[in-house]
């Protein structure tokens, strides 16, 4: 299909990538919903911009299937590639810890080495992000596409 072979545009909700995406207005505490241009990362997709040329790099913003709910997609930044050691600082919020425990995932303590075939994803807005700091590394084949930029609203290009 087009979205898995060429390009797709998807709407982003949630504050976990603020202020890069969906910035939260500090005065009014509202956030916009950005529409993102996403390039699929499948190597055999015929017309994808990423085919055969692009390998995932640290710092890329990617779209991925959530491990806890396969029908939903998330957008986060790649922090660690397989083999990287992640030094973790800071406490996770109680909300995040409780959510991870309810899902059955979680109990990630201390420094972590990202295993083969998995990546470490984090949201820019670390206070309000439920990410690999809470559930651990994510299989790399769940990553579906790389975010190329914001297409709407036009003021956010």
């Amino acid at each position: 299909t087009i979205s898995t072979h060429i390009l797709t545009i998807d709407r982003l909700t949630g504050p976990s990538m603020s202020p890069a995406l969906n910035p939260t207005n500090r005065l009014t505490h509202t956030s916009s919903s950005d529409y993102l241009l996403i390039s699929p990362l499948r190597f055999h997709a015929p017309f994808s911009f990423s085919r055969c040329i692009y390998t995932l790099a640290r710092g890329d913003v990617v779209s991925f299937r959530k491990p806890q709910n396969p029908e939903e997609r998330g957008v986060k930044r790649v922090i660690g590639l397989p083999g990287d050691r992640i030094i973790r600082r800071g406490e996770r919020s109680e909300f995040n810890k409780r959510h991870a425990r309810n899902l059955g995932l979680g109990k990630v303590d201390g420094d972590v080495v990202v295993p083969a075939g998995r990546v470490w994803l984090e949201g820019d807005n670390w206070r309000e992000s439920f990410d690999s700091n809470d559930v651990g590394s994510v299989p790399i084949q769940l990553v579906e596409g790389r975010v190329l930029g914001v297409v709407w609203p036009p003021g956010r290009w």
Binding site: H5, F43, H44, P46, R65, K66, P67, Q68, N69, P70, E71, N102, L103, G104, L105, P115, A116, G117, R118, V138, P139, Q141, L142
Partner: protein
Amino acid sequence: MPPRLPHLPKASPFRQFLLPRSLKIYTSSALLALAVYHTTPIYPTTGPSMLPFLPVHNGIVLYNPLTKRGRNVRVGDVVVAKSPYQGGGIVKRVVGLPGDVVCVDGDAGRERRYAKVPAGHVWVAGDNVPWSVDSRHYGPLAMGLIIGKVVAVGEDYWWNLRGLEGSDGMVRVEEGDVD
């Protein structure tokens, strides 16, 4: 009879008539072949981890792409999934759904333990347990990696595919096959 025109290379019958039409046929059939290749739900398998369900070499499975991401997956279904630890795919049997408690086989040096399958994941195991790398090694499999449920199994060629209902699904294994 029309007057004979001098021979002009650009207006030759081949270039004028046949070439554009054969180019259209070639490109459209190439695009059609590409579309069929990318959408046909058939997966070739190799390896002994699903014996006797699948042969060691030249196995082939037909899967249902409507069951991607674990929709309607039940315990006992064989699924095709993207590999959780490398590129490529895997074919394994689902033995635990989210929320189930699974007994993880004791292995060489490891104790038997019990694990609860987290939300959005399934526990998979190969039929040929001693020869299978499965959830005992890489943990629960995220359902987002599942490509589809297997509906037919075969060997060598797609016309050898047989549905699963009522078949014993057995494969002949000879000594020296697994290598």
